[in-house]
């Protein structure tokens, strides 16, 4: 058991933090968010130069062979700085899926360019009727000649509009919620039959609903075995959720620091409001949640190292449920303790709160993950 950061990780942490402190100040982020693409290609290139885009790719794919703890370090720092660049969509999900299940040609075609910051990906899996259920896929893939035709609809696909290709889950057999029968395909964003309804998201990011109408896909664009993608999908979602846990943790800590500072400086009734016990205890509760949330982010990252998929999902869901609840509490209380200034757009506090809120609704909220953890209890001896 070891809770300390190894030297290389400490270095990674320093590097990311320093970079963001210099290059990703809040006002600059505002400009990035309102730019046409909604993210900065320049920042993305610099993240590539720092090695962050290939962080968890294998050596032979040109990566740094990092693991979920390394991703956590990056995501925690991204949380505090409210980075909107498509790291989860492209690196954690997209490159993660190709690393896990892609063949040699796909890995070569995509991973190097992703690590270099030249290609962007999106993962189009969630559907309106699925809510968060990972195996519910109504999008259809049917054989046509040597390739496939895909028809369906995917909701709130992160980074879809800016992606060079979209990894689409589609079903060639079985009922909508069967675990078997799902395949993954790399679909070019501008392929015929792909249409996007793109929009901004509440947290300053971008997403799109993706309609697929008879989209032709060559068979060499299929990732992994046909009909057997559910394990890859669940692993990818767990990995994304572990990363989101770390991002939320970074925001929780940032909110607590800002709120504590405010309690010490804001004066009412002739004294700092932090002198009032009602507020002290609220702040103590927020601190307790933050300490526990850090423990659960460790649980999530450690969970990604589990060989057994059930144990992995169990740990990640425990963490996402806990951190979702903690995020809601800390976020709401941080706003409350700031008073009216907390509900303005001017202060970063409200932006942290909004990001925590969207993290919770991404790839399963606290209720979903509590239920998933709970259902796994039925399988215990």
């Amino acid at each position: 058991m070891d809770f300390s950061l190894a030297e290389e990780r400490r270095l990674l942490q320093d590097t990311v933090r320093r970079f963001l402190a210099n290059e990703y100040k809040f006002e600059k982020r505002r400009a990035i968010v309102s730019s046409p693409e909604g993210f900065s290609r320049d920042i993305w290139k610099q993240l590539a130069d720092l090695g962050l885009l290939g962080l968890t790719m294998r050596d032979e794919d040109g990566g740094l062979a990092g693991d979920a703890f390394d991703t956590s370090i990056v995501m925690e720092a991204f949380g505090r700085a409210l980075v909107v660049e498509p790291y989860v969509a492209t690196v954690v999900l997209g490159a993660g899926i190709i690393s896990d299940a892609g063949n040699a040609a796909q890995r070569e075609a995509w991973l190097g360019p992703i690590a270099a910051g030249e290609k962007l990906l999106a993962f189009a899996h969630t559907e309106p009727a699925a809510r968060y259920a990972p195996s519910f896929v109504e999008t259809k893939a049917r054989r046509e000649g040597a390739g496939w035709k895909i028809d369906g609809f995917k909701s709130v696909v992160l980074n879809a509009a800016n992606a060079d290709a979209i990894i689409v889950s589609a079903r060639a057999s079985g009922n909508a919620s069967d675990r078997d029968g799902i395949s993954l395909f790399l679909v070019d964003r501008d392929a015929p039959g792909v249409s996007l309804r793109a929009y901004a998201t509440q947290d300053g990011g971008h997403a799109a609903d993706v309609k697929l109408s008879g989209v032709p896909v060559a068979d060499d664009r299929r990732i992994g075995d046909a009909g057997a993608a559910i394990a890859t999908i669940e692993r990818a979602l767990d990995r994304a959720n572990a990363a989101l846990c770390a991002e939320a943790l970074g925001i929780i800590d940032a909110l607590n620091e800002a709120t504590l500072e405010y309690l010490k400086t804001r004066k009412q009734f002739g004294q700092p409001i932090g002198r009032f016990q009602a507020l002290q205890h609220r702040m103590a509760d927020m601190t307790i949640k933050a300490v526990e949330a850090r423990s659960m982010a460790v649980v999530a990252a450690a969970g990604m190292g589990e060989k057994d998929a059930t144990q992995r999902s169990r740990r990640v869901s425990a963490a996402k449920a806990f951190i979702g609840q903690a995020s809601r509490f800390v976020g709401q209380q941080a706003i409350q303790l700031h008073g009216a200034i907390g509900v303005t757009d001017e202060l970063i506090v409200s932006h942290w709160f909004k990001r925590l809120t969207t993290i919770n609704a991404t790839f399963g909220d606290a209720d979903f993950h509590l239920a998933r953890f709970s259902d796994l209890m039925l399988g215990e001896k």
Partner: protein, 398 residues
């Protein structure tokens, strides 16, 4: 960064488990698992078994007879003892007064008292709270007046746990009334057999008599039984409370209770189906389990820091608050799991060996009482509100 126990720690766990399996009397483990009433003899039996092995005081320095374990090893030991259904080693001697004697006592006190605490020869209890001094402990009024080589003690202590079986009590007493209230307190060791000591049990909400009031009427206490300096007792008391909180997360115990809760939920029926298949109830178990995971890992993080750095700090308050809340929610869920069979009050059922007809499933009898009893956990050893004051002041600087 990893969450796994090391090979050495796993081997240590195996060793502990094997020893407990061979040494803990089956009947005693059954009493603990079934929530039966424990006698003085039950506690003493397990204490002596551990003492013989040299494991009764895992936190003590080796020079005083501790086993020299790391904080993580101590945690593993606690988990294994809890899982096996061992009675707790009562904290009053081993974990409360002993560290104070070790740190602040004189050589004679160390030589006399420590071996008797280890062996279980002396049963200790705590004399802190008074009717008028709860959270505001420093306002205590029990007086000790110096008369030659004795103090004469007069006053009343309360909320004293298991003092009815105690040989000795450590007391905070007032030896001066000038200055701040904290500055006139001394730390005395008092023989419970001294003339003038009266113990009266307090019946608690679960019908049991776990705690007592203790009166002191002209009780003569040798000055030699004062620990440290006169009027410096508050320092020692704070040291003790800091020590007390290190084990108070109660992770081992709560893991055992969670397991029991799941077993009960598998056996109970709701609409003819196992209760655990009721998603609404199962989700509440899941919530408690997730919170327990967060507590366990937080506890391990604090322990790991303790091993590498320093004495337990104010982080211990976090463990106390969350540990007590989780114990409470687990006890509440267990009671809720048995539904209407939380109602019958048949105190005889809590005696091991009682052969009457049980009211409901045998596991149901202690559960309501346990729920009622566990309300104490957010009140004792510094109420959770006091803990939040500590967090505000010591961690946050508010």
């Amino acid at each position: 960064m990893n969450l796994d126990y090391s090979v050495d720690e796993l081997a240590f766990r195996e060793g502990v488990r094997a020893f407990i399996a061979a040494s803990l009397p089956k009947a005693l483990a059954a009493k603990v698992h079934e929530g039966k009433r424990l006698t003085r003899e039950d506690f003493v039996t397990w204490h002596r078994i551990l003492a013989k092995k040299g494991w009764v005081a895992p936190g003590w320095p080796v020079e005083f007879g501790g086993p020299g374990w790391s904080a993580v090893q101590q945690h593993i030991f606690d988990e294994e003892c809890s899982a096996a259904g061992a009675p707790v080693v009562l904290p009053f001697g081993v974990r409360m007064v002993a560290p104070v004697i070790q740190r602040f006592g004189n050589e004679e006190q160390k030589r006399h008292f420590l071996p008797r605490i280890l062996s279980g020869e002396d049963w200790w209890c705590q004399g802190y709270s008074e009717p008028g001094a709860g959270s505001d402990l420093a306002s205590l009024k029990t007086r000790a007046e110096r008369q030659g080589d004795h103090y004469v003690v007069n006053g009343q202590k309360t909320w004293n746990t298991l003092g009815q079986w105690a040989d000795w009590i450590f007391c905070l007493v007032r030896t001066a009334t000038e200055g701040r209230p904290q500055e006139g307190i001394s730390f005395l060791l008092i023989d419970m057999k001294s003339p003038g000591v009266t113990v009266r049990p307090i019946r608690m909400l679960d019908g049991e008599a776990e705690i007592n009031e203790i009166w002191f009427e002209d009780v003569k206490v040798p000055v030699a039984n004062r620990v440290g300096e006169e009027n410096k007792g508050w320092t020692y008391a704070k040291f003790l409370l800091g020590h007390e909180r290190t084990g108070i997360a109660g992770v081992g115990r709560s893991k055992r209770e969670l397991k029991k809760l799941k077993e009960i939920a598998r056996r109970e029926r709701s609409g003819g189906r196992p209760l655990i298949e009721d998603a609404r109830f199962r989700d509440r178990i899941a919530q408690a389990e997730i919170e327990l995971i967060a507590l366990e890992v937080t506890n391990l993080r604090v322990l790991a820091e303790e091993d590498t750095r320093r004495a337990p700090g104010p982080e211990a308050s976090i463990l106390k608050v969350r540990g007590s809340e989780i114990q409470q929610s687990l006890s509440e869920l267990m009671m809720q799991a048995v539904g209407s069979y939380g109602l019958p009050y048949v105190p005889e059922e809590l005696d091991a060996g009682w052969s009457g007809e049980a009211a409901g499933p045998e596991y149901a009898a202690p559960l309501a009482g346990l729920y009622f009893n566990m309300r104490k956990t957010s009140i004792y050893s510094g109420s959770n509100e006091i803990q939040k004051n500590i967090i505000s002041q010591m961690i946050l600087g508010l």
